[in-house]
Each structure stands twice: as C-alpha cells, then as structure tokens.
Amino acid sequence: MTRNQRSTLTQWGVFALGLVILGVTLALTVRWGALADRFFKWDDFSGQFPQIIFEAARNTLIYTVIGFSGGLIFGLVAALMRQSSVPPARILATLYIEIFRALPALLTILIVGFGIPIAFGAENLPSFFRSLYGAGGFALALVSGAYLAETIRAGVEAVPRGQVEAARSLGMTTTQTTRSIVLPQAFRVILPPLTNELVLLLKDTSLLAVLGVAIGERELTTWGRTFSNSIGNYTPLTAAAVCYLAITVPLSQLVKYVEKRTKAGQR
C-alpha cells in the first residue's frame, strides 16, 4: 500500500466511524415513531396530490416568474443606469439598489403590498395589481431587481474593453454595442449567479403569505401550513418540501447543462 492509499483509507475510516456514532445517537434519542406519525403519514401525503401541484406549485412558479422577469428588467435598467455618464441616472440607480438590498424582503413586501393601495387608492389600481400576483410579484421584483442589478453589472464589467472598441470601430452605436455585444457575453458569465438568484426568489415567494392569501392564490408553503392546521398533521409540509425540491433540483441541473453547452464553443 502506498502512502497515498493509506491516507485515503484513514480518511474513509474516520468518516464511517463518525457516521456510525451519529446514527446510533440519533437512533437512541429521536422519537422516530412520533416523527413518522406526524410528518410522514402516507395517506395524508398522497391526499395532497394532485391539488398541491395544480394550485400551490403552480402559484409558486407564477410568483417566481413574475418576480424574476420584473427583477431582470429593474436590475438591467439599474445596472445600465449605474454605468451611465449622466450623474442623476447613477445616483437614482445607486439609491434603488442600496435601499432594497438593505431592507428585509419581508418588510419590503409588507410596505409595498399595503402601501400601494393606500397611495393610489385600491379602486384606481388595475385589477392585476389588486391581486396577490400583481402586488406580490411587484414587491418581489423590486427586491430581486436590486440584487440582480449588482450581478448584471459584474457581468458587464467582465466583458473585455476590446469587445466594445471593436464594435464601436465598426460604427455601431452605444445601444447596439450594449445589446448585441456586451449583454449576450455578460449573461453567459453570470448564468450561475443568476440561477442562484432565481432559486432564492422561488423560496422568497413563501413570504407573500403575509399580505393575506385568497383561496386559489396559495403557494407551496402557505398550502402546507393551511392543510397542516386543518388536518392536525404536519405531513402537508413534507409534501410542500418535496414539491420545492422537485422544482429546484432539475432547475440547477438544467442550468449546469446549458452552461456546459455554451462553454463548449467559446473561450
């Protein structure tokens, strides 16, 4: 046995020993029966399906899509404004980014959700904004936009200056250069952090419950809590957790695949 093999074997030995100790401790201390009874009751679990998918998972996805598309727009505009040569544009973008990154997402959702109907009068708002989809989605977009702005800016700054010079020397305008040369390359660079923001936002949709949720507007976490209360068993929370995993795990795998494919050709 070489030195290297011996040290690898020792590492695995220590790992296995730790696992056994942890397993024994848990087996002796955790009340498995009660846990299985309250969190993993098969009938209550299967009873959640398929409605949990058609209502709760669907709503989670809708809030995420609205929040993320809005966030991308806010973030892109803020990122470009922050690099503008016009000082007021820079100041405005910096203010937006600093404020919404400094506030807890929950607080932003509360202020936006309750503040906008008071500010403009609920009866003056378009019906979309009176629903949780509009109000909540807008609040989430504001929050994620502030974070996305910084991510997008980092991506734009990662594009070499020579790319811009080459485009400008062909006679392309600043706008054409940004749209056709800089942004496509920037988005390739920031694809991994962008997915990260998407997953964070997906989980933040659970915060929208604080605005009060109508039947049909429930997302996964709210669904889990509501039905846990009504049937006196926590299994619906487990079902919600399974649904979150079923969305996020394939998503990150998909992004990994796309990343690998775009990298194959370039750089």
Partner: protein, 254 residues
Amino acid sequence: MTDGQAETSTAPTVEIRNLHKRFGAHEVLRGIDFHVNDREVVVVIGPSGSGKSTLLRCVNLLETPDQGQVMIDGTDICQADTDVNEVRRKIGMVFQQFNLFAHLTAVDNVTIGPRKVLKCSKIEAEQTAQALLDRVGLAEHANKFPAQLSGGQQQRVAIARALAMNPEIMLFDEATSALDPELVGEVLGVMRSLADEGMTMMVVTHEMSFARNVADRVVFMADGVVVEEGTPEMVLENPQHARTQQFLQQVGDR
C-alpha cells in the same frame, strides 16, 4: 472639400494637424502632423511608448485628441457636431488582440457590422462574409467560434470583419504583435495583398520587413513626435536622425 467625388480629390484621405494627447501628466502626442494619401500604405514605426498606437486610435476617435485636427476626407472629425459612428464605418480597424466577438461564429463576426450598421439583409451580408472569409483563406472555418481558431486565423477573421464594412481606409494596430512567430506570415500575407489591391492603409508595426517591402512611406515616431519620414529606402537604409539610427540598430533591422 467641395462636391467632387473622393476618387478625384487631391486632398489626403487622413490629415492630422498639430495633434496633442495626454494621459494624466504624461503627454503621449506632442504636436503631430501626419497624413495618409488615397491608396497609400503608410507604416508607422518607433519604440514602444512613442505614441504610435495612440496616433492610430485618434484617427477613428477611440482616443479623443486634446488639441489639433483630424481630417478624414477633408472633414474635421473632432468637431462636436461630427457623427462619430458615420465616420467610423468608413474606417476599418484591426487590433493587436484581435477582439473578435467571443459569442459569435467567424461568419457572424463578419456579418454583424453590415447587418447592424449598414442594415444589409441577412442573405446579402452572409454572401459578402463568405466571399471575404474565402479571400483570407478561412472559408471552411466560417462556423467556428473564435476560441476554436488559432491566433493567425482569428486575426484574418478580424481583417475580414473590418473589410465587410467596405472601408475607405484600414488601420492596423500592431496586428501581428500578439501572434506566435510561425503565424505572423499568414496575416502579413493578407495585409500585403490588400496593399497590392490599392487599399489605403495606416499600419503600426514592428515588422521591419513589411515596412521595407510594402510601405509607400515610413514614418518614425519617438517620444510623441514624428522624427523622420520618407520612402522605406530613405528611413530604413539611410536614416538621418540619431534617434532613428539608434532604434533601427536596437530592433536589429529584422
């Protein structure tokens, strides 16, 4: 310039008068007078830091001059009311680091200028691009990305990209300096054939053989001024200034 066509004009294509440019405390260009005539190949040589690249980059306003005039076809492009993009589309530029668009294939690199700036149709632009890639010997590499091409191939795509705009003048900023020695020849070959076809060219280079064999006129710059200029024979074989003699000795007259 009056209403005459560019072809019949006697004014130089590029004329620079008393050009000054400083970066911070360092004055890179200290009063340059320089011109390139129609269909002329002018090679600018000089030690690094002499301001040759800055001079070249002032011609298409990648650098903004502090003082002086840059006239293209008789129009001073430093005036505030000049449409910079309009000027640049007539001036092709080839960079030391190639600067091919990394997210586009070779053919898309060549078509993007005509499509976005000249508003050519996709089909028309692609036909031109294929012809140009064929001309630089890369027809079979049209669908490759820059990272899949060698440095010499990338630089030839970059030349095709600049030619696709049908420029009146081509600027070469040390186009072969970033290349492995065995790849220099293929790029110089393309540049030489362009010169033979009568393209107006301004070339900043360290390739003395190119200066000797292709240039109509050689300009030697040092410390932000033009020290000496004339035919290749005059400047390279029989330099009058000590600074020129010293430089030519140092580069070993490659």
